[in-house]
């Protein structure tokens, strides 16, 4: 087991390096919009996994759940991806003049965009981005670093502090994820608006966090690093994945159906771009991998806690979240979904980097929050 771990350890740096070369090359060769669109997709992907995991941790603290305690270290470690997202986000600020029409002088000619200038301007946008990152760092400090410290100190006071901070984090999360959706994604087309968009991104974010955590937990379980953790603990992860697959589909469909029904030119153009021509194939694929397959796969009760099924379903859900972001963001580049060596390079680079980051986080603290007073009850949990 250790041998295969070391072997795979070598893969990721190579992936990251090769990918990075391709990324740099595409910066010079491919058109700027395409480069930055790819960067944005990967930035949001990594960010949403990190923030989604923070949400999972906070939710567990908020309701003092038992079942989540033994497996809580996985989302805590994954929340470190927010730290990887920080430099990605700062670099993404360079994409503003390329991807965002409201940064350009001709935007002043369109009243629908010019009127939004008090909100959509580079300084205020950047401040909002920095504030969100600051708040996420704060949450990371309180939840993850605090939990790691609790491993050593075994002080129950941390659990109370975390529980007290959890509601505040929920406010932070609600508004920050809405800002990510509105600022980074929906303002790519500033004439468009949809007030459910924050909720839509929340659904995908939660799913991404669940899927990533599930993958990590199953990985650790199979390596015997989580003694006492049984399939029962996986049940809720599988159940939430099922529920939020349905929720994401519901939100996505509601937004689409309402805008289709009204058929207003100023709203529907956003969908027309994304469901006509070659992009139709992407949205159909998205419906299949983000709804149909996970839904029917997770309907049987036994699948929700079976690690073998849950692993590939989680992988599918995570990939579907990526496809979702790709479908949301990349249509601004052109009528044909780009898929070539730039996209592959980005994938190699950031999957490699991400996996390296996760591996590094695996050395942080114990594999279970051993200082948590609820751990014993958590291990006894039966679904």
């Amino acid at each position: 087991m250790n041998a295969s771990r070391d072997a795979s350890a070598g893969v990721f740096p190579i992936m990251a390096a090769v990918g990075a070369l391709g990324v740099v090359a595409s910066y010079f060769v491919a058109e700027p919009a395409r480069f930055w669109a790819n960067w944005l997709v990967w930035f949001i992907f990594v960010l949403t996994i990190g923030v989604g995991c923070l949400f999972i941790v906070a939710l567990g603290h908020l309701v003092a759940a038992r079942w989540s305690v033994p497996i809580r270290r996985a989302p805590e470690r994954l929340s470190g991806l927010v730290l990887l997202a920080l430099p990605m986000g700062l670099i993404a600020l360079l994409s503003l003049p390329v991807l965002y029409p409201w940064t350009r002088p001709e935007a002043a000619l369109k009243p629908a965009i010019a009127g939004k200038a008090p909100w959509l301007n580079v300084p205020f946008f950047s401040i909002r981005v920095l504030i969100c990152f600051a708040l996420w760092m704060l949450a990371y400090n309180i939840f993850t670093r605090g939990s790691l410290k609790q491993d050593k100190t075994r002080d129950p006071a941390f659990s109370l502090r975390a529980r007290g901070f959890a509601p505040a984090f929920m406010f932070i999360f609600a508004f920050s994820i809405t800002l990510v959706a509105f600022d980074w994604i929906s303002s790519l087309e500033p004439e468009w608006y949809s007030d459910i968009f924050g909720v839509y991104l929340f659904a995908g974010t939660f799913l991404a966090g669940l899927a990533a955590s599930a993958l990590l937990v199953i990985n650790l379980m199979e390596r015997g690093r989580l003694p006492g953790v049984r399939n029962d603990h996986l049940y809720s992860l599988g159940g939430f994945m099922f529920a939020f697959t349905v929720f994401w589909s519901y939100i996505g469909f509601a937004q689409y159906m309402l805008l289709w029904y009204g058929n207003m030119p100023e709203e529907i153009f956003w969908y027309k771009q994304r469901i006509e021509g070659p992009w139709l194939n992407v949205i159909l694929l998205l419906a299949v991998v983000h709804f149909f397959v996970p839904f029917f796969a997770l309907v049987p009760k036994d699948r929700k806690n079976d690690p073998r099924s849950l692993r590939w379903i989680a992988l599918l859900v995570l990939s579907a979240h990526f496809l979702d972001l790709y479908w949301l963001i990349v249509p601004v580049v052109g009528a044909k979904p780009p898929l070539s060596w730039p996209e592959l390079s980005f994938a190699l680079c950031f999957i490699g980097l991400g996996m390296l980051w996760v591996r590094r986080s695996m050395t942080m603290g114990a594999d279970m929050p051993i200082g948590d007073p609820l751990l014993q009850e958590g291990l006894e949990f039966r679904s």
Binding site: M257, W260, Y261, V299
Partner: protein
């Protein structure tokens, strides 16, 4: 109560004792072992060797059936049987069909779950089970747990079962018997059937009259009583008591201008045909002629009508002098005010149609009085 034993039942005081007893009693292999509990017990299905409930699969199938049914019916009704374009939406607006598809899916699935569980799997309602008339049942629905060794194929070694249960820790043993079969007499069957038929007949008769009469009693008929002016009704609003009144003197219909010319001579002097004698105009004129004029003046304009001679009046022949030489305005005047037996056609023809038909008459006149050059 017949003599055939149904089961031997023993009571236990808590779930732990019951669960401990189940494997011990089953080991004796005296018959099917059933447990009776006031609430579901974890792990009891495995202990009793019960097969998995097929309800999940049934419900899934029912749900899919519901979804497909709703989709099919909405599609057929909206796009095939009576297609109506509503709100500019496509005939097969699947986006609009999804909410009902979802609801019908849930409806089919839930009713399969509930009714399938009751009727098919648990075979309830069933009021004849011996357990219902036992001593044990009152304790079972309250706070005790019962284990029953049921007779397979009608035979049960009662003493052995009692021993087994006692050994496993049961108290209050009881023997249940199969209820005696009371044959349902033909007379009572007949009475029941007749009763049902009679009730259906009465209910049907009552419903028929209720549905027939319901729409014609107030307030259902209130919409027929509208405070508006209907045709051919009296009205107290007008001095002469008539609902229908003539338009006010000088009223001009839309699309019409007032025709103020009094004499044909004046018409001939003042009015000029604005339409050229071009192909489309003549085509229009021909259509108007055949619809309105040819009936009396004949298809060729020569006063030989399509009507039989019994008509009486003699329509003018438009092809011969002096009519042939009248200016266009005179023709227009005749159309507007009529002449002799011919009524005014002002209301039947628009201004364009009047001039177009006059152009056509000119064409008819030329056709009947062709010169040599016309054939070159």
């Amino acid at each position: 109560m017949s003599d055939r034993t149904f089961a031997v039942v023993g009571l236990f005081h808590n779930a732990t004792d019951l669960m401990a007893a189940i494997p011990r009693v089953r080991a004796y292999r005296l018959g099917t072992v059933e447990a009776y509990t006031p609430y579901p017990i974890h792990g009891i299905e495995a202990a009793l060797g019960l097969r998995r409930s097929p309800l999940g699969g049934m419900v899934m199938l029912a749900g899919i059936l519901g979804c497909v049914t709703a989709l099919f019916f909405q599609w057929w009704m909206s796009a095939v049987d009576y297609p109506l374009v509503v709100g500019g939406k496509a005939l097969f607006s699947w986006q609009a069909f999804v909410p009902i598809m979802f609801e019908v899916t849930v409806l089919f699935a839930t009713f399969t779950a509930g009714l399938g569980m009751l009727l098919l799997l648990n075979k309830l309602p069933f009021f004849g089970h011996p357990m219902l008339s036992s001593q044990a049942i009152a304790s079972v629905t309250r706070d005790k747990f019962a284990l029953a060794v049921e007779a397979d194929n009608g035979t049960l070694d009662v003493e052995a079962a009692k021993t087994a249960l006692r050994a496993a820790g049961a108290s209050a043993l009881e023997v249940l018997f199969v209820p005696a079969e009371e044959p349902i007499s033909l007379q009572s069957q007949f009475r029941t059937g007749a009763g049902i038929l009679l009730s259906c007949a009465v209910a049907g008769y009552v419903m028929y009259w209720a549905i027939k009469l319901f729409p014609v009693v107030p307030p259902m008929v209130h919409m027929e009583d509208q405070p508006r002016l209907d045709a051919q009704r009296a009205s107290a609003f007008f001095k002469d008591g008539h609902g229908m009144q003539q338009p006010v003197e000088g009223t001009v219909a839309r699309g019409q201008l007032p025709y103020l010319i009094k004499t044909p001579f004046e018409a001939g002097e003042k009015l000029v045909n604005p339409l050229p004698r071009s192909g489309p105009v003549l085509q229009q004129g021909r259509v108007v002629w055949n619809q309105h004029c040819g009936v009396c003046h004949g298809a060729l304009g020569n006063g030989v009508p399509m009507l039989t001679a019994a008509y009486g009046a003699k329509p003018a022949n438009l092809l011969v002098p002096p009519i042939r030489d009248y200016p266009d305005g005179k023709f227009y005047h005749t159309i507007m005010v009529g002449k002799n037996a011919m009524p005014s056609y002002a209301a039947d023809l628009t201004e364009d149609e009047r001039w177009a038909v006059i152009d056509y008459v000119r064409a008819l006149q030329r056709a009947q009085n062709a010169k040599d050059e016309d054939f070159k």
